[in-house]
Symmetry: C2
Subunit: 203 residues, 2 copies
């Protein structure tokens, strides 16, 4: 079916859209119930096709999980790349990195279970995903160190600090829902404030 400018929703495009839709559904159910507890029949039912149709798009269940995870890790990568491209102090970058990461996560949904089920993947795929995660972690720690040198933040332990905040962030998807009273931006801002300033009152 051609549209006004003569462009066509080609087979390739339609196929890609369906893949994406399938990934969204699978991701949601994996997150809700866990990878091993989810059957492909369930995923297929929810999409409105039969299990066999899924095999036309994905080699097997593992690959479905793998691609779900990749989408997820893209959030972190996107946030990192955007941050790397920006000007400003390490302190500003640190805030931007985490803020953007949180927003993307809440908008896209998905990290949690993917992290938990990484062991379900073959060794090679695990290593690739772990390496991706490390990149974000390294970058975040580097920013913390630089911000300390800048004199903007206290001389905290980077490992502990990074894990502290990453934990809080990853947990967000456990309690923040799509129809939450707070928007992703609000949550993100509040978290940054807590992370930067703590809860103790000062004069």
């Amino acid at each position: 079916m051609a549209n006004w400018n003569g462009a066509v929703a080609s087979r390739e495009e339609v196929r890609e859209q369906k893949r994406r839709a399938a990934l969204r559904v699978a991701s949601r159910i994996f997150n809700e119930k866990g990878y091993h507890a989810t059957s492909l029949d369930e995923v297929a039912d929810d999409i409105g096709v039969t299990k066999t149709a899924l095999y036309y798009y994905f080699k097997n269940k593992e690959q479905l999980l793998y691609e779900c995870m990749k989408l997820t890790y893209n959030c972190g990568q996107t946030a990192r790349l955007e941050t790397e491209a920006m000007d400003g102090s390490a302190f500003e970058k640190l805030q931007f990195l985490y803020g953007r990461f949180m927003e993307l996560l809440m908008e896209e949904r998905g990290v949690y279970t993917t992290m938990a089920n990484i062991r379900a993947l073959p060794e090679e795929a695990q290593q690739e995903l772990i390496e991706r995660r490390r990149q974000l972690d390294r970058y975040s720690r580097m920013l913390i160190e630089k911000a300390i040198e800048e004199g903007a933040i206290r001389s905290v332990d980077t490992r502990i600090t990074s894990n502290f905040f990453l934990g809080a962030v990853n947990w967000i998807l456990r309690w923040h829902t799509e129809d939450d009273a707070m928007t992703p931006k609000e949550v993100s801002a509040h978290f940054l404030d807590l992370f930067m300033n703590g809860i103790v009152k000062r004069d």
Copy 2:
């Protein structure tokens, strides 16, 4: 076999010890691989018995998980009860509650997967465990509110703040290992410092 004071390691006692040992092993593997990805044969192998032996101690796999989770939730409950029994300001109590909770978690290990796999349990058991978790959450929020009234901490959003820190805490078991460079007490102290004071440097 009687010991010096005539006391006996009675059948009941031995049985209880074996149950405990089984729970520890199961808990560890559930945490490593996830409930659904773990077979009872695996658990049994690791203990050094056959699967069938487990059925002598536990009704079924679900019950095994349920009891693992109960041990876990005891950490939170213990921390809460100890805090309730203590004197001091809400601010002090808040610090003690979280500090104790973190230490218990690192010493006992186990929350993470249990939280993730709660859906594997029958509705009734889920409700019981969720209720337990709520108690801790309510208590923690109450302390935050009181500490605000006391003027010890800023007037933060209790829901966000509670989730913020709970996330960081629950995540600990993801990166802190039994042979970690930092002791549970050290991690706990560092986390409290970050939570209270944030990372920003002040004069």
